[in-house]
């Protein structure tokens, strides 16, 4: 009876050339081709889209929200940040 549970593919959507691929959700599909077609139907029906990526869910390696150490910033990190260097010269080098 249960023939509705196909593998899950995470979908990344690029709105236009030069834009990043952004994760927009997931689809169920039996193979790569079906995953791309389902992703197109699900996520590119309305919005502009020039490229889609699909990745099998189990191939995505994730950090754990509960890991208290992975993103911990206990030390002073100003040595690597723009505002750590109050150089008083005018003129912007970057946005």
């Amino acid at each position: 009876m249960n023939d509705t549970q196909l593998p899950i593919w995470e979908v990344f959507h690029q709105e236009k050339r030069g834009a990043p691929h952004v994760h927009v959700g997931a689809v169920h599909a039996s193979d790569e081709e079906m995953a791309l077609r389902m992703a197109k139907e699900q996520f590119a029906r309305r919005l502009e889209c020039v490229s889609l990526w699909v990745v099998r869910e189990e191939h995505v390696v994730r950090t754990n929200y509960d890991d208290p150490f992975f993103f911990a910033r206990n030390t002073d990190k100003r040595y690597r940040e723009v505002h750590g260097f109050p150089a008083p010269l005018k003129g912007k080098h970057s946005e």
Binding site: N2, D3, T4, V24, G25, S30, E32, M34, R46
Partner: protein, 316 residues
Amino acid sequence: MDVQEKTYEEKLAEFEARIARGEKIEPGDWMPDEYRKQLIRMIGQHAHSEIVGMLPEGKWIPHAPGFRRKLTLIAKVQDEAGHGQLLYRAAETLGKSRGEMLEELLDGKAKYSNVFNYPTPTWADVGMIGWLVDGAAVVNQRMIAKCSYGPYARAMKRICFEESFHIKQGQDLLIKMVNGTEEQKQMAQESLNRWWYPTLMMLGMPDSDSPHLGKLKRWGVKVKTNDELRQEFVDLVAPQLKSVDLHPPDDDLHYDEETGHWKFTEPDYDELKRVIKGDGPCNKERMEARRKAHEEGRWVREALAVSKRKKEVPAA
């Protein structure tokens, strides 16, 4: 790692503090069982509503008056299929598979919105579903877009964006009818008479009958109460309908200068309970249609389940 295991109370306090700060809960986060179960139930019912919701309108696709209306209706019904899939996926992140949920729907164990168990005898009903039913859905879904569970909130943003087209096409269709022949105008009014109260019911039981409301609000599952949503909906659509000479079947409906809100007659909540439990005008018909579609689609699922690699024949 030498971390002391936290107690349930400590975890709950952290969970509630995160929500109070306006942060979202994400898959993999610790959450109380009750939160998980409540969300699986809500998102599942929401998904089923999208899937069953295709039926009352879908039957009008072959009879749509004109090619443009037909294309519009096909697009709208396709959106609903897509919304159902987005929602099943959001529920899956809480640990229940789409297969399980679909099975529950087909077995008649799952609940879905009351409103799709009412008949659509005329073309005006297609417009009324867009204007009223999707209008009420958007009021509800705009709230859910602010809920505390990340995947549900994200799915809602996408869905609301698409629903605004559904409302627009419904309004356009009915305004055409209201400005048409006397018969068409009457058809539109009769459709409003049928859909007004079922749509008010769609926003749920009254607050006085929602025992877990306090906790649901504290956990960010509900951001507004059912009565608040119902009032917001009436304030939105009552003046819209009246502006095109369509009148909800409620003699007490009027704008209250003092409160700045529209006063209205509450729907019959006993009817809502009956319809949700399976005893509405079309529950049986809807489930039969869904099961038939599932059976008739079996060969498609079987074909899709065969991986491309197996289908490929090596070059000679």
